[in-house]
Symmetry: C2
Amino acid sequence: MTETAENYDATKYERPSVTVDVVIFGLRSGRLHVLMVQRKHWPYAEHWAIPGGFVNMDESLEMAARRELEEETGVHDVYMEQLYTFGDPGRDPRTRVISVAYFALIRTEEQALQVSDESNDVCWFPVDELPKDLAFDHEKILRFAIDRLRSKLEYTTLAFQLLPKEFSLPKLKRIYEEILGEQLDKANFYRKLRDSDLLEDTGKLLNSRGRPARLYRFRDSRIEGDFVFRYREAKKKDEQ
Amino acid sequence: MTETAENYDATKYERPSVTVDVVIFGLRSGRLHVLMVQRKHWPYAEHWAIPGGFVNMDESLEMAARRELEEETGVHDVYMEQLYTFGDPGRDPRTRVISVAYFALIRTEEQALQVSDESNDVCWFPVDELPKDLAFDHEKILRFAIDRLRSKLEYTTLAFQLLPKEFSLPKLKRIYEEILGEQLDKANFYRKLRDSDLLEDTGKLLNSRGRPARLYRFRDSRIEGDFVFRYREAKKKDEQ
DNA sequence: TCCTAATAGTGTTATTATGACACAAAGTAT
DNA sequence: ATACTTTGTGTCATAATAACACTATTAGGA
C-alpha cells in the first residue's frame, strides 16, 4: 500500500460510502426467483432494487450481508457468498457509493417476507421477468449474479441449497434445467448423481401423478468437504 | 437498499476507507513470482505488502487498480481481474479499511520496477518463498489469489497472459506445471492444445539445447471470444 | 376392473475424451 | 560419427458422455 504506508491522517482523503447488496435467490413453484424491494424515496423512488444497506463500522462485510438478509426475509444460516464489488463513480447520484454484492440461496418454502419500513413493498420476481428500470446499476448486478449462479452450477452443489432437505431426482433435474435453460437427459443425469455418491435414499416416496418419486437427502459429509459434483452436458461446439 | 432509500445525509454514517490492492503475478525464469513492496512506515513498517492504495473519488475501482499497477511497474494494458473484497474490522489498526483486491498477470520480461518513495523496496518473490510476516491480512489475500489463479487455469487461457507473444509448447507446459504444482503428460497436453485450435504456428523455431522448439502465438479470435480451453488431468478420486 | 396417460427410473450402445507410455525427430556437444 | 538432450507423434486400453429405447409404478377414467 503506497499511501496507507504514510503517516496516516484519517481526514486526509475523502471517503466513499460502502454498502452491501444481497441478491437473494429462491425457488417458487419450480422457477428461479429473486427477491426485490420497492424503494420509497429519492433516488429511484418507486423503482425496484436489490435489498442492501450500509456496512456498520464494527461488522464484517459478510455479517452486514447476513444482517440485511435477515432483516428482509427473517432467515439466517443460509448459503451466501461474495459476488463482486461494484464501485463506478456516479452509480449513485448522492455520493460515491461502493457496493459489495453478495448472493444468497434460500429454501423459499421456509419463511414469509417482511416489508421493512424503508420500502413500499417486497416481492419475489422470476429471474426472466424482472421489473423494468431497476434502481442504480442493480440490473447489472443481477445479471452478474445469475451468470455466476449458472456457471457455478456446473461444478458445485449450489443447486441443492435451493431445495428442501428432502427432494426427488426429477425435482433436482428440473432446477438444473430451469437455471441452465436447457433440457438434460434423465438417464445421464441420474447416473451421474448415483455415481457421485452425493445422495442418500430416505426410503420415502412422494406421490404425485404418475409413479411416485423416491426422496433423497444430501450426505452432509459431501457438502462440507471439498467434493464437487461436476455436471456438464458437453455442448457440442458447432465449429469445424 | 433499506437505508440508502432514506433522505440521505452524507454525514449520517461514519465511513470506512476504501483501498485497492493488486496482486501482480509474473514469470521469472519459469517460476511464478509475485510483486511485493516493503513498507516504510507504521503500521507494519519494514514488512512486505501487496502494492495498493486509496481509491480516488472520481475513478472506478479498476482504474484505481490499474493506476497502482502502473505506478509500481510502469505497465498498462495487462490482464487484470477483481479478486475479492476484504473488509474485516481490525484488519488495519488505523481505521476501518475495506480493500478491493485485484490480480494482474504481466509479461515480466517487458519492464523494470520503480521503487516508489512510499516504500523501501520493490521485489519479485517466488510464490512458494514469500517473506515472513506480511503486512495486514496480505498473506490471506495472496493465498486467495494463488488459489484463484490455479483454479482458473483449468478452464481459461489465463496462463497465456504470462508468456511473451511467441512461445513454445514446452514453455507453456512448464507454466501449467509450475502453477498447478504437478507434472503433465506431454503428449496429452500437446494434443489438447492442437485440438483446441487456440494456437497458430509462427513457422519460427527456437534453438536451445536439443531439438529446436516450434514457436506459436495465440489466435486473438480465441482470446476475445467465449471460448475456454479446459485443461484438466483427471485426478483420480481415491475413493471406492 | 382394465386400460391409458403420466411420471419415475434403468439398460445399452456408439462415440469421444483421457491417461499412460513407447517411439521418432532434430538439434547440440564432444 | 556418436551420445545426449529436448521436441514432438502414435497407439491403445479405459473411462466418460450423449443418445435413445426400454421397463416400472402410480392415478384416473371408461
